[in-house]
Structure formats: structure tokens, C-alpha cells
């Protein structure tokens, strides 16, 4: 399957202090991306994740050369694609045109040329590149690409006759045809319906890993970012909040906002105390070993990130041997089969979400005890200053 793509190695992409601004309708300057730093290793798949309007698409387009950064540097495969130095310094502006960056891009709407057939669409990129291909080479490559995306018999069809998923696959084949060093995908699966989306993205992931091209894709879907991406950059309001592996983001988010965005999060208020080896916080649901992210080290109160699966539930009993923890009433039950999610209402009115594999099922209205239960030895929970914004605060 990869015979024609042996020489296909991805390039590294580096962004330093890249800002993208543009003039909106009223004449105001809108800052889409603010001083972003990104380091993408060759052959890896990176997701740009964030809510709409966070600047992830602008960042992607800056790599493509479809947006011109107002400052900063974009380096692709060791070659500076764009550099916008300080006004103070004397170095000149560098700008490489999009068509010369050796970068492929798949757009949200597929963007297949409606007046050309599937085969002609794929060939389009081949003829246009600087690399010279002979006719038999082109035919072979087209056949290979169609095979790759499982549309071998669709060469003569017109794009208008294809379904959404098929169009996206042709778009992918077309962008891979000239063997770009970097592949950019702008919300490529958002136009597909859910069942299709899962299937298509699994296929796409397989193809991209087989080929080894450096891939950067934009999505607002956290599942997608985590499933496909080797590393994920979480963005908010034009800034990259955190860049790391899905696991790093999930377990050690740097801000409550990131914590809440990449997964469901409870924030439990606790008091910091120093114990022998590490810092801990005393919370109603137990003593938690924390990873200190306080902005002010002198504060004693923190909010500790507790994931739903880190809360264990036990039935409330009046006996003295009941587990240590916070009393709560079950407000809602969601049964997923493989696990159960409970919404708990604590006596002071706050809510907690808990997920358990437990064979013991609770019903609405049951009184339970919620206890912190860490999943791994020596793991720490992130603790933040109270008052730092969380995703829920955005609404």
C-alpha cells in the first residue's frame, strides 16, 4: 500500500511568536492568534483544539500561507516560510507563497473542483507541482491514491454525485497526490454525520500514520483530538494554553479552563497543608496529593481537579465504620453500560459528577458517600487558585 510513498517523509513545523491579526468590518483590529509557539515533530499528528473563535483555523492558515502573520516566524522543514521581524530590527520580511510551501490542505467543505471528475481532481495537484511526473507515473499514482482511500472505481465520477464522506476522501487523496511534507486539515470531519465521522476518521488516521506525513488538524471536538492526535494544542482566545500529549493534558492541565475543556472536571475546594514529602490539600472528600499550580503561593485555599472517575461512591450508613468522605444525594443517574455517571448534590448545594464501574448501582435520591480515589500510585491532582476561570464560566 505504501509502495509509492517510500520517500514520503514528513517535515517538522515550528512556529515562534506567531500573531495573526486582521481588520474586521468596523475598522477594528481583531487579534486572531496571539504569540503562538508550536513545535511539531516530523511525522507526528498534532491537533489544534479549542472552541469556535479561538484562532485555531487562523493558526492553521498561517502555516499554509493563506493568512499573513503580523509577527513571528513559521519554519517548515527547516525552511523559513514566513518571518515577520520587529519593526526595530533591520532584517527583511520573508514570505513564501502557499503554492511553494509543499504543504497540502483539506478544507472543511472538501473543496473539490465541481467541474472536474474525481480523477481529474486528483491529477490536478500533480501537474501543478514543480516536480515533474511522467504520464504513466501520474496514472499509477492516481490509481494508488484511489486505492488508498478505498474509492478505486470512482475515478470518472463527478464530485456532485458523491456523498459527503466520499468527497472528503477524494479531497484527502488529492492533497496527498503531490506528496507534501506537511498536511493540514481544517475541521475535515465536521460536515459528516456522527456515525460516518467515526468511521472516516479512523480510516484517515490509519492512512496518515502509514504514510508518515506530518499532519496538523483543527477540531473543536475533544474526542477527535485525543483519538487522532499524538499531541494536542489547546487554544483559547488566540493563545495556545497548553501543548502536550492527550495524557498530559488530561492529567496535568495547566489551567482550570484547559482541565474543564479536555474532559469533565470537578473542582473541589481544599486547604493546602505540607506533609512530609509532598503538598497535599485537605478536601471534604479526602486528602489529595496535589500538583501546585497556585498563582499565589501564600494562598491556603485551592480548587483541586478531581475527575469523575476519581470519585468512589458507597452507600450512606449511620454506622461508625462508614467511609470517610462527603455526604451527598444522587440527583441524576446516566447508565452507559460499561460505566455509570452520577450527578451528586452535596449537602452544601454544590454538585459533583462521578463515574464508576461499580456493580453496586444507586438510584435517584439515594444517600451516598463520595470519596476521592486516585487511580494511579504517586499521581498528583492539579490544584489551582480559586477564582481562575473554568470553561463553565465562559457561558
Amino acid at each position: 500500500m505504501t509502495s509509492g510513498f517510500d520517500a514520503f517523509t514528513g517535515a517538522a513545523v515550528t512556529m515562534r511568536e506567531v500573531s495573526v491579526t486582521y481588520r474586521a468590518g468596523g475598522g477594528d483590529n481583531v487579534v486572531a492568534v496571539e504569540r503562538a509557539d508550536l513545535n511539531v515533530e516530523p511525522g507526528s499528528i498534532v491537533a489544534l483544539l479549542g472552541p469556535s473563535g479561538c484562532g485555531k483555523t487562523s493558526l492553521l492558515r498561517a502555516i499554509a500561507g493563506l493568512e499573513e502573520p503580523s509577527s513571528g516566524e513559521v519554519v517548515i522543514g527547516g525552511r523559513t516560510a514566513s518571518a515577520c521581524p520587529d519593526p526595530a530590527s533591520s532584517t527583511k520580511r520573508t514570505w513564501v507563497q502557499p503554492e511553494q510551501r509543499d504543504v497540502g490542505m483539506v478544507f472543511q467543505d472538501g473543496a473539490l473542483f465541481p467541474h472536474l471528475s474525481v480523477r481529474q481532481n486528483i491529477v490536478f495537484g500533480l501537474r501543478a507541482t514543480r516536480k515533474k511526473f511522467s504520464k504513466p507515473e501520474i496514472a499509477a499514482r492516481v490509481a494508488e491514491l484511489l486505492e488508498l482511500v478505498d474509492l478505486a472505481d470512482y475515478g470518472n465520477r463527478m464530485p456532485g454525485t458523491l456523498s459527503g464522506g466520499q468527497q472528503q476522501r477524494v479531497a484527502l487523496a488529492r492533497s496527498l497526490a503531490p506528496q507534501p511534507k506537511v498536511l493540514l486539515l481544517d475541521e475535515p470531519f465536521s460536515a459528516l454525520d456522527t456515525a460516518l465521522r467515526v468511521q472516516v476518521r479512523a480510516e484517515v488516521a490509519r492512512i496518515l500514520r502509514d504514510i508518515g506525513v506530518t499532519t496538523i488538524f483543527v477540531t473543536h471536538d475533544q474526542d477527535e483530538a485525543f483519538v487522532l492526535g499524538d499531541k494536542v494544542a489547546v487554544m483559547q482566545n488566540g493563545r495556545i494554553e497548553q501543548f502536550g500529549t492527550p495524557d498530559e493534558l488530561y492529567r496535568s492541565p495547566r489551567t482550570p479552563w484547559v482541565a474543564g475543556f479536555v474532559g469533565e472536571a470537578n473542582f473541589v475546594v481544599g486547604t493546602v497543608t505540607d506533609e512530609a514529602a509532598a503538598e497535599v490539600a485537605a478536601t471534604p472528600i479526602g486528602v489529595i496529593s496535589i500538583d501546585d499550580h497556585r498563582t499565589d503561593p501564600t494562598e491556603s485555599q485551592v480548587q483541586v481537579l478531581v475527575r469523575p472517575e476519581q470519585i468512589a461512591l458507597a452507600a450512606w450508613s449511620d454506622a461508625d465504620d462508614r467511609p470517610v468522605g462527603e455526604a451527598a444525594t444522587v440527583a441524576a443517574v446516566e447508565y452507559y453500560g460499561h460505566d455509570v455517571r452520577y450527578e451528586l448534590e452535596l449537602d452544601d448545594g454544590t454538585t459533583l459528577a462521578a463515574r464508576t464501574h461499580s456493580t453496586e448501582l444507586f438510584a435517584r435520591g439515594d444517600r451516598v458517600v463520595a470519596t476521592f480515589q486516585r487511580r494511579q500510585r504517586n499521581s498528583q491532582s492539579a490544584a489551582f487558585s480559586i477564582g481562575r476561570p473554568r470553561p463553565a464560566d465562559d457561558r
Binding site: 486582521y22 481588520r23 499554509a64 500561507g65 493563506l66 493568512e67 499573513e68 507563497q97 502557499p98 503554492e99 511553494q100 504543504v103 497540502g104 490542505m105 478544507f107 472543511q108 467543505d109 473543496a111 473542483f113 465541481p114 467541474h115 490536478f124 495537484g125 501543478a128 507541482t129 514543480r130 478505498d150 456532485g160 454525485t161 458523491l162 456523498s163 459527503g164 464522506g165 466520499q166 488529492r174 492533497s175 503531490p178 454525520d193 460516518l196 468511521q199 480510516e203
Partner: protein
Amino acid sequence: MTDAALAPSRPRPGARQRTTTGWVTPSRLIGLAIGALFAGPAAFVVWRTIRLGGDLGDVLSEVPAPLWRTIQLSVLVSTSTAVLGTGLAWLTTRTDLPGRRLWRIALVLPLVLPSFIGAAAFIAGLAPGGVLYDALTAVGITPPSRFRGLGASWLVLTAFTYPYVYLPVAARLLRLRSSLEESGRMLGLSSTATFFKVTLPQLRTAVFGGALLVFLYTLSEFGAVQLLGYDTLTRVIFASRQTNRALSFAAASVVLVLALGVVALERSQRGVSRPDDRASMLTRHPTHLRWGTVPALAACTLVLSVGLLVPVASLATWAQRGLADGRVGFGELVQPAMSTAIVAIAAAIAATVIVLPIALATTRRPHRSSDIAAVSVVVGFAIPGLVLALALAVLTLNTPALDRLYQTTALLILAYVIHFGSQALASSESAARSVPNSLRESSRLLEPNPVRRFLTIDFPLMRPGLVAGAGLVLLSTVKELPATLLLSPPDFSTLSTEIWSAYEEGFYAAAGLASLVLIGVSAVLTWVLVLRGSDVVRK
């Protein structure tokens, strides 16, 4: 992974819907009836040609040479307007041309000039003592002493009719989704190559539609080419209409056949245009002209000069002489101006309403009957005004039921509708296409009454396109002359007939003043109806 089991999410564009009610449906009948209305005059011409018999030798000797000249001119003008209109549209929507928002308005304005008076004024401007003559000699260029023939006609008609291409292409460029062109760039094409290989194919429908209108207009045009001394088929119709009526009708039939052929050809070649409702990101990234800025500005100025500035300046000189002497005044133009406005507005509304069923039929339930109806609407534009008016006069005179209509403003308005309905059709079709399928389908479930549904859902969404189409009909009606002269009731005059009667007898000051008033009225109407609400100005 196979998608064979997964059906496409929506029907293929252009797919014919199977109806279960059989061939004859109310909408198809209405469409055919409207088509018959538009085809009536053309049918009359053919029938008269056959009835008058005539000498085939006559026809064979008199018709081929003018026919060839007509074809030459029409092809040349429609090609040059296609290129010019597209180029100007690109310049004013996709580059950083200085003052492009103003240019977008200004470049549409040559539409407001009636072609015969525009040509006369341009010739006067180019002659010794004229505005252009003085300007050229001041720069050191010797103006041509004879401005006539194919070259002159080509130049003048191109400058007056390119807006028919410019408007739809500019509107389309502004709504084109940018991802296609960006894909082209990412696949390695330079900006120029992207324009030709990716953008231009998307503009095909708009360009073809506009060029078709130009072709048909040139076919039926008479006043300007007569002044410029270029002998076309319309001159044969005109010159022999009294002395050799058989020849006159035969020539008219030839024009109609030619028009029919071209319209059918265009419909087969036009391609399918998909509505794009994503905002184009490309307006934020215009192509930088750099050294090309000055030539581009010069080109725009040149085009506008020939098409608008020089004629208006000449007309102003004419008028000014008369105003200074007190020989002419605005007072005598008030009544004609009001008559003009009333019939033009009525014609615009009537044309839009009458053409609407066909526009809806061709976009939503494509069928051969709606295509035929659409073709007959468009052919109406090619019938020379004189022939159309005569046909309607004869038809009403000889049909007892319609006798009452003869020489009423209602019949005149009908003539305008038949002649200019095609301009409302194109806008109405694109307006109909811009109503999303999903919206229509959900509204069907909520409102079972089709009329109410149309009024509350479709019509508000289609309104901008419908208004633009009505605006174009209005513009053309204001300028129309031959049909107005023939069909208007006694004691009825429009600005156009005033211009004609003054010009015929050499009263240039009066002709100039009336022309300026007409241009002023047209310019205001263009702004209010065609430009103000359209993308061309808003973006």
C-alpha cells in the same frame, strides 16, 4: 469500508424529480401559458412571413450580407464584453484597486444611457469641437476624422453593454467560497493560474448569461449602428418595412431564428451554478496590483469615458447652450418624466411577477416545458422593438376580444414585459436558487398552504434578487424607444420619445436636456433598486 450502502445525502443537482401526477400539472400549464405569451409576437412574425409569401430571390440577395455583418458584430461585442466585464469584475472585487467600492457603482452606470443617443453624443464628442476631440488633441493624439463602421460600432456597443456581464460576474465573485481557490493555491498553482483554472470555471454561468444578453441586444439594436453607419439586418427590416413588407418580415424571421439558436446553445453550455452562501475570505486578501495599479485605473477610466463620461459631457454641452438661451426648460419634461416613471415601474413589477413562475419551475422542478418557456422569454429580448410593437398592434387589432387593449398603456407595458422579461428571469432564477432546500422542506411541514408559504418564506428570501431583476427591467424600459413610439396612446410621451423627437429635428439642446434628465432618473433607480441592496456595493 464501502459507501455503497450509504446513499448520498441529497439528490444530485439537476436530477429530474419524478412526479406522480402525470405530465400535466398546474405549474407546467402556467409555465407554458407564460411561454406562449412571450412567443406570441415571434410566432406572429413567422406567420406573417409565410403569409406574405415574398420573393425568395429578393431575400437571398438582400439578407445574407447584412446577416453576416450582424453575426460579426454580435459575436465580437459579446466576446469583448465577456472579457471586459469579467476583467473589470475581478479588478473591482479581488484586487486592491484604489476606490474600488466607488468603481463598482460607477462601472454599472453605462446601462443608464439609451444607446442611440449615447452613440450620437459620443460621435459629437469625438468630432471637432467636442469634448473628446479637445481632450485628445490636447494630449497630442489626432482623433479619427471618420468614426463609423464595424470598429466604431464594436467599441461603442461594448462600452454600453459590458455591465450586463459585469453585474452578475461581480456578484458571483463576491459570493464564491474561497476554499476552492485556496485549494488551488495549496495544490501548487500561482494566483494567475488559480484564476484561470479554478475561478473562471465557477464564473461560467454568470459570464455566459451576461454575454447572451449582450448578443441578443446587439442583434436587435438599431439606433446606434445606424448612426455609426454599420449595415445590419435590423436596417433591412427598418428600410423595407413599408415598401417591401415581405422582405421586412423575412429579415425579422431570420433575426428570430438566429436568436433562438444562440439561446438554445447558451442553455446547453451554461453549466450548473451552485449557490454559495459562505462568506468569502478572499476579500480580506486582495491581490496586490503594485505596478499594475496605474494601468488598471487607466483602463477603468477609459471604459467609463467611452461608456458614460464622454456622452454625458456632450449632452451637457448641448443642453447648456439651450438653458443659457432660455430655449429649453425642465418644465416641459415633467409630464413625460412622470409617464416614463409610471410605465417603467409598472412594467418592472409586471415582468417580475409574470416571469417568477418560470424561474421557480426551472430551478425547482426542471422539466422540458419550463426550459421551453424560459427560452421563449429570453428570445423576447432579441425581437427588435419595432417588430414587437407591430406584432402586438396587429394581434390586438385583429382579435375581437383583445380589441380594447389596442393603444392603451396596458398594451405598452405588456410590450415592455415581453421585450425585457429575460432580464428579470436571470435574477429571479438565482434568487430562487438561494433559498435553501432545508428551509423549504421544513416550511412545507409547518405551512400547508403553498401561497402563504411562498409569501412568508420564499418571497422574503428571494426579495433582493427579485428587486435587482425588476431594477434591470426598469432601466431598459426607461430607455426604450421604437415600441413606445408605435404603441403608445395619443398624447402620451416619455422621456425617450421626447429625446427622439428633439433629436430628429436637430433641436440638440432639448435632446441634451431630456437625455440628462433620463440619465438622472435612471441613475437614481439603478442605485435604489439594483445596487444598494446587492452584494456588489455592500462588501
